[in-house]
């Protein structure tokens, strides 16, 4: 038997593959995650190859043999084998892989640089940014928001228009200076520049001579429709309430994040220019998305899309399901039946291979969604559906989990920039991106080139099965429907069948505009070999310059990363990008579907926020003649009074609206809002107080409920500005279930989570903003000024000497201004509440401490007239202290140890 020398490269190739696929053997202590692909081979294929080349019957023996070869090879000894064919095959794989990577590296780098250059050029060229509605029809039918420009604003806009580049530079400098950003941290500086660029772009769109300007016509406005699962048009299109609710949860989450980040960006520019630009950053329509319909309030909405997505994941990891779906995509049943037996077998084989690859890829996705990312032991997300987080993170909305994963995986070090780094890019980009991409020739050509390439590749593969005559033409000539069918298949897997039909139809009608999205989908979902060029193109499709920079980084460092690692990095990253096109398509479908028009109302603005809105122009007080009444046997009348007092000068009532939130009750009857329209137009002079009285009726259907009566008033001030104020008053009937001290309250700031420095969490870098770490301990009165967890090393307070494991355990909740004694874990408790201490000497309200058994509930930012002594769950304790960002800060301890309140309350 002839012996062949095995080249060292091949031994290294085999050995590295073993290390990549079987890290548990090579690094038993380190718990490394295995790679999913290695030089285009999945684990099964690799196992097959090593068994053949080593001529062994088991994988274990094969690995052992390769280990021995490696040892010999490293010693410089010759390694011989009797299996030449496999060696040749492996050499081919290796050479092809290396060649492909090298080529892709170069092309990718070039393209990414071109893309960035083009982006940079366009950034400050309003003509290229501005698109007409006709070009893409992505504008909202929702009424556009208009803002009056002050003289100062006009001057600043003129300056921006005169020399945009200079203005951007100056604004960047001012932001850095005013916010005290760290010049040594390129991410912070980049953040400032991004915000400045966004502002400049916005300024360039504004005619400085116009007295009134349209500030935004974000496509997101239309998503307001989808914040309301009760919307009749929405309901007529998607009959399943649960599906509508899931969509509305996503929409609401997005709108909150958009609002939050836009607020942050606005604050930066406001501070830098000394002028309020908030409306330019925060279109009121986005705010309005926050509104949750009354019917939905009180119903749990935290489950989001997890159930369907879980099932989706389960399905896409099943080879059988995938086979079925792919078959549907490539050939219809009739044509399939027309194939000969051999042709069918070959096609089946091809489909099975593809399904197997997708399944492997989906398994990698499974790692991510099951909170563990390959090569990352840290938890990706806490309690939220991982898939959704990945979508959002990939899109730049939730920067932390995946951004951290990406940055750590790529050895960027820790991701410690302010949240603004990614979010405003998204905030701005998503607003414009769809329009931009569709008409940016460069991207279009890259993408359509890719699409064609992919189509050709697919077609070629199919043709290679010798049944090309029947399939090639169809595939090559008709990419869009194919991609449409893929989306359709996946949407089916998502169980959103009604949407699927709509999407598929809509895609056909809008195929030319969707080229890039579908290509994105293909790139994200089916470019399985992970060539960097695809990644960069994918990033380009996503449209984020910063991510393209990451792309460049990846490309330029590919050489330094071992092949095994490379495969592991790229595949999950590609997987991350699968989500974008799916969601983009769904969103586009939603936006463009002419049927979805939120009926605008002049008297009842949708989304008027619940809870407290402080106005600097008026004082608003609402009271009822009762706080609590026993369960009813007949109808009862409740009397309310609203007092409106101007603070600065005369005001005229522009609109006044009353509405009700009912928590609990047994299918409660809706409450008829009083007609307060007769007060519109009333002028209230300073030192005057306008008192409005009205009555409502409650009945036994409201037993065991809390009725929150909300008033929202818009006044016009003497200098022509509109100012909104809102307050609420709650009454309790019987014993309603209260699982949050603010019934139906929404958590706005969560407990600290090591590593999440940019989310809305107490004690993280974002929380402290311009405050110093020693401004106050968290929780209060603990002497704890920093996190002790080693993974919190990016926290600015990590260097504090006084640290603890429960650092930042607290939540902030907003909603109504009434604070109730809550249940915990569904159990009614008897609390003993007492006055605790003042906050900021009383300038930020007061703290009350309630005890029940081992529980200690610390409620902060309340008025100092709260009830003390014995209070049962569901009884009112007091009211929120009226500060501009009125909220309840909650800390909770069990058995003398602080815990995360959100694990017990307000979920």
């Amino acid at each position: 038997m002839e012996n062949y020398t095995i080249p060292k490269e091949i031994i290294d190739f085999l050995y590295n593959g073993c290390v990549g696929f079987f890290p548990e053997i090579f690094f038993p202590e380190e718990k490394k995650q295995p790679v999913v692909f290695y030089f285009g081979l999945n684990k099964e294929e690799f196992e097959d190859k090593i068994q053949k080349i080593t001529n062994t019957q088991s994988v274990d023996s094969a690995i052992q043999t390769i280990r021995n070869w490696k040892i010999k090879s490293d010693r410089g000894e010759e390694v011989l084998s009797t299996i030449p064919l496999n060696i040749e095959e492996l050499v081919e794989i290796l050479e092809k892989g290396q060649e492909k990577h090298q080529k892709a590296r170069e092309e990718g780098k070039k393209k990414a640089e071109e893309f960035l250059k083009a982006q940079e050029k366009k950034r400050l060229d309003p003509q290229k940014v501005k698109l007409t509605k006709e070009e893409i029809e992505l504008t909202s039918p929702y009424p556009q928001a208009k803002v009056k420009l002050t003289r100062e604003q006009q001057e600043i806009i003129e300056r921006a228009r005169r020399d945009p580049q200079k203005f951007t530079d100056e604004l960047t400098e001012r932001i850095i200076g005013k916010l005290g950003l760290n010049r040594e941290n390129p991410l912070e500086i980049e953040s400032a520049r991004t915000v400045a660029q966004i502002f400049t772009l916005k300024a360039l769109e504004v005619d400085p001579k116009a007295k009134e300007v349209v500030v935004d016509d974000s496509p997101f406005e239309i998503l307001a429709v989808f914040a309301n699962p009760e919307n009749s048009i929405f309901a007529s299109t998607i009959p399943d309430y649960d599906i509508r609710k899931q969509i509305s949860v996503i929409v609401q989450e997005w709108s909150e994040i958009l609002d939050r980040d836009a607020t942050l960006a606005a604050n930066w520019v406001n501070q830098a220019t000394g002028v309020d630009w908030s409306p330019f950053f925060i279109p009121p329509q986005i705010r309005e998305l926050k509104e949750v319909p009354e019917e939905q309030k009180g119903q749990p909405s935290t489950t989001g899309v997890s159930i369907n997505l879980k099932s989706f994941l389960e399905q896409i990891t099943s080879v059988q399901v995938l086979e079925r779906q792919i078959r549907k995509v490539v050939i219809d049943e009739k044509k399939y039946n027309e194939l000969t037996r051999t042709e069918r077998a070959k096609l089946d084989e091809q489909i099975k291979k593809t399904a197997s690859k997708i399944s492997s890829m989906s398994s990698a996705l499974g790692f991510l969604t099951r909170r563990k990312a390959p090569f990352l032991e840290n938890t990706i997300t806490e309690k939220k559906p991982g898939w959704l987080n990945i979508h959002l993170s990939a899109m730049g909305i939730t920067p932390e989990p995946v951004a951290r994963f990406l940055t750590q995986s790529l050895n960027f070090g820790s991701f410690s920039s302010p949240n603004i780094l990614v979010s405003p890019i998204f905030n701005f980009a998503f607003d414009k991106i769809i329009q931009k991409l569709a008409t940016t020739p460069k991207i279009r050509s890259v993408v359509s080139g890719l699409t064609t390439k992919l189509a050709e590749k697919t077609a070629a593969k199919v043709a290679a099965t010798k049944i090309g005559g029947k399939l090639t033409a169809a595939l090559a000539a008709n990419v869009i429907p194919v991609a449409g069918q893929i989306i359709s298949a996946i949407a089916t897997a998502l169980s959103i069948k009604d949407i699927t039909i709509g999407i598929a139809k809509w895609i056909k009608e809008n195929s030319d505009k969707l080229t890039y999205i579908l290509a994105g989908f293909l790139v994200g979902g089916f470019a399985l070999t992970g060539a960097p060029i695809f990644l960069v193109a994918g990033l380009g499709i996503a449209g984020f310059a910063s991510r393209a920079s990451i792309g460049i980084f990846i490309i330029s460092t590919l050489g330094a990363i071992g092949s095994a690692v490379l495969a592991s990095l790229l595949i999950p990253m590609l997987i991350v990008f699968i989500g974008i096109p799916i969601l983009v398509v769904i969103i586009l479908f939603i936006i463009n579907s002419g049927a979805y028009v939120y009926p605008p109302s002049t008297t009842n603005p949708p989304g008027a926020p619940s809870g407290i809105i402080q106005s600097e122009y008026i004082n608003l007080i609402k009271k009822a003649d009762v706080d609590k009444i026993p369960n009813l046997t007949t109808t009862k009348e409740i009397n309310y009074t609203i007092q409106i007092t101007p603070k600065k000068g005369a005001v005229t009532i522009k609109s006044i609206e009353n509405k009700y939130n009912i928590t609990g009750g047994n299918n409660p009857n809706p409450i008829q809002s009083p007609d307060l329209s007769s007060y519109v137009g009333n002028t209230i002079n300073p030192s005057q107080t306008l008192t409005i009285s009205y009555k409502i009726n409650v009945d036994p259907s409201h037993n065991n409920s809390i009725i929150e009566d909300i008033v929202i008033i818009v006044v016009t001030t003497s200098d022509g500005k509109d100012s909104t104020a809102s307050t609420s008053y709650s009454i309790m009937i019987g014993s309603p279930p209260v699982d949050c001290p603010i019934p139906n309250g929404k958590i706005t700031w969560w407990s600290y989570q090591p590593g999440d420095e940019n989310g809305t969490r107490h004690g993280n870098n974002r929380y402290w903003g311009s405050y110093s770490c020693r401004s106050w301990p968290l929780p209060q009165s603990t002497g704890c000024y920093g996190p002790s967890d080693p993974s919190a090393s990016d926290n600015k307070c990590f260097k504090e000497t006084s640290k603890c494991s429960y650092y930042g355990y607290a939540i902030d909740v907003v909603g109504s201004n009434s604070v109730y004694a809550p249940m915990i874990g569904g159990k009614q408790l008897t609390w003993n509440c007492s006055y605790g201490f003042a906050n900021g000497g009383g300038s930020a309200g007061y703290t009350y401490i309630c005890s029940s058994g081992n529980y200690r509930l610390i409620l902060t930012h309340m008025k100092n007239n709260a009830k003390t002594g014995t209070i049962n769950s569901g009884e009112k304790i007091g009211e929120l202290y009226p500060m501009p960002n009125a909220h309840l800060h909650i800390e909770l301890a069990i058995g003398g140890q602080y815990v995360k309140p959100e694990n017990y309350l307000c979920r």
């Binding site: 106050w776 009165s781 610390i858 902060t860 501009p884 960002n885 800060h889 602080y898």
Partner: protein
């Protein structure tokens, strides 16, 4: 004349040195002592297995009248060897976490604000390492009167 001046100089120098030394002594020894709480901190050394993490001692401002105290050791604790005593006599419960390396003491009732407490702990490691001296943890809880936390600039 010269001699007298010399003596004077010597006296001045000696006086200055004594003054300086007194000042140093006062500044570096006495002052920090005065600034410290009147109640001594936990006794640190517990060889042969040591405390990795212990709670704050001395005067503690806290909103929790049932504050728990956790002591983390470098080795696994022999649960049967643990002896805890609290003065004044207080009912308590203990638990073990962190692979039995952390001992937590929970009062069954509330601590009394303003009272001086002393927790005495004696224990062995699972490997039967003994601590040379019992751990003494002295503390006094004070009720907070004001919290600087205002959160008024935190965005919502």
């Amino acid at each position: 004349m010269k001699k007298l001046i010399t003596k004077k100089q010597v006296i001045i120098i000696i006086a200055s040195v004594v003054f300086f030394l007194s000042f140093v002594f006062f500044a570096f020894y006495l002052l920090p002592k005065k600034e410290k709480n009147n109640i001594p901190q936990t006794i640190p050394e517990t060889l042969p297995f040591e405390i990795k993490d212990r709670p704050q001692g001395g005067e503690i401002e806290t909103a929790l009248d049932n504050l728990a105290f956790s002591f983390t050791f470098s080795k696994e604790i022999d649960k049967n060897s643990v002896f805890v005593q609290i003065n004044p006599d207080t009912e308590f419960e203990i638990s073990f976490e962190n692979n039995n390396k952390t001992l937590t003491i929970f009062p069954k009732n509330k601590w009394i604000y303003g009272e001086n407490y002393e927790i005495k702990i004696n224990l062995k490691s699972k490997e039967k390492d003994e601590i040379k001296e019992p751990i003494l943890h002295k503390f006094k809880l004070n009720k907070p009167k004001n919290s600087p936390m205002d959160e008024s600039q935190i965005g919502y």
